[in-house]
Symmetry: C2
Subunit: 277 residues, 2 copies
């Protein structure tokens, strides 16, 4: 297994790195970004996963959110995977919400997607082993967050592996993918039209099932152009009754990285509180 370091940039007291590797699960070359805080003598380093939204690569969050200030101050590592398998051999469609850049963090069962679109297995089986080894003095503690499609991904991974992830947070997540256009189109293509197969990839179903859910924190801008059609929270919040969910509507904020930049410090503080318990 060869991991190649492509870039490293000092930012605040840590380093923003970019790596490439061949993924056997996805059967293609992949790139991911990793922020490593300055070595600390205070405590071992924990890891937050960030999952990005439609059209993104590992660059959007590393370049546009400014998360490194809070990660440096809190001495936490942050890994940013890509949003789908990549490369010329990987099936794609000429649209932004299916195919490359739109893997939805699930394991596809339908053709032509099933061979490469196995992002869930990639993120839960293959990539963790790689990333854990890159963190000096790793604490073993992890949590997960994301934006939009990546907010859906963070909830699905966090709720399917509640022992592994100490906290889940999301900006403008797709909370009910089985009920909204983005999710219905993607699930139909990747999983087929039998909706029974959709449930295990739907946070609203999962949060009802899981016995001990990690605490969840959601930020949603009230001026988000996708809110009404794709991101409504009522069905999810009803399903989440009895679980620890903090849903924060932020007046005037939209779907952009400017909203993430504004509230990322608060999200990282939420994760640190849970990781340090």
């Amino acid at each position: 297994m060869t991991i190649e370091l492509l870039e490293t940039h000092k930012v605040f007291k840590g380093e923003q790195r970019k790596y490439s590797h061949y993924s056997t699960v996805l059967d293609c070359d992949m790139v991911f970004s990793l922020y490593l805080p300055e070595a600390s003598e205070k405590q071992p380093t924990s890891l937050i996963w960030w999952l990005s939204g439609l059209t993104c690569t590992d660059d959007n969050f590393s370049q546009k959110s400014g998360f490194q200030k809070a990660a440096s101050d809190q001495e936490v590592a942050v890994v940013i995977p890509d949003t789908s398998p990549r490369g010329e051999d990987v099936p794609d469609e000429d649209r932004y919400d299916l195919g490359k850049g739109a893997g939805f963090y699930l394991n596809a069962t339908q053709e032509p997607w099933a061979k490469h679109y196995q992002m869930y297995s990639y993120l839960t089986e293959e990539l963790p082993e790689i990333v854990h080894q890159l963190i000096p003095d790793f604490s073993g503690k992890e949590s997960i967050m994301g934006h939009s499609m990546g907010g859906h991904g963070a909830l699905v991974l966090g709720l399917k592996e509640p022992q592994r992830f100490k906290a889940i947070s999301a900006f403008a997540p797709i909370l009910t993918p089985s009920e909204v256009p983005w999710g219905k189109e993607a699930f139909s293509a990747y999983l087929g039209t039998d909706k029974a197969s959709w449930k295990e990839w739907d946070a609203t179903y999962l949060i009802k099932q899981v016995e001990q859910a990690p605490p969840v924190f959601v930020t949603q801008g009230t001026n988000d152009q996708f809110y009404e059609e794709q991101l409504k929270e009522d069905i999810f919040l009803k399903a989440a009754e009895g679980k620890t969910v903090q849903y924060q509507a932020e007046p005037g904020h939209d779907h952009s990285y400017f909203t993430i930049a504004t509230f990322i410090k608060k999200h990282i503080q939420f994760h640190i509180n849970e990781l340090n318990r």
Copy 2:
């Protein structure tokens, strides 16, 4: 004169806006970005100009530096012009360091550049009138900063108009353009080969000439790939003897926006100290 608001995004307590307008000085349509802090009752709002480096548009600084946190906290407006004239009618070359994205903030005298490449007049005569009117309760106080080619631009504008600009700061600026490849190639093309005409666009010449220079603050990463060939400081610092210049080498930092993100708060604090005097 028509100014069109293209975008507005809430970020921290203010708004990141993008405008377009027709520039009579440049004879083309131009775009600029403007951060407006939340309306304050404490004091009128001052304005910091940011000039970007080679290949950039108004987007790089607004999306990658995270400057909005400090600008919001300090309640200061920040305007980000483009780096050259734009459009199909504007001459260009198939290289990153001449033509579009590489206007060098001067007034060109040579063909084919002279008709459109008048960035200095644009930034000192036309754009200020537009921007000042967009800031509610403008204090009339301005300062200027920039990166690389834009650091050169900030120094040139600030030193040519020392009464107007209360402070100058720069990240990895081209301090001696007449002596380094980037500057020599651009000046030869835009100004001609008579080096006498280069002096008024060279910070090292200007800082020697100006009687009362605004205070200058420079941040230079020691791991900057362009440092040795393009960005050395010794000649400039010698020329600046007797002026207020703080030159800060930052170990391990490179030429990227990650360095800007790390130190932008410190730069904005420097500007605020001078603007509030």
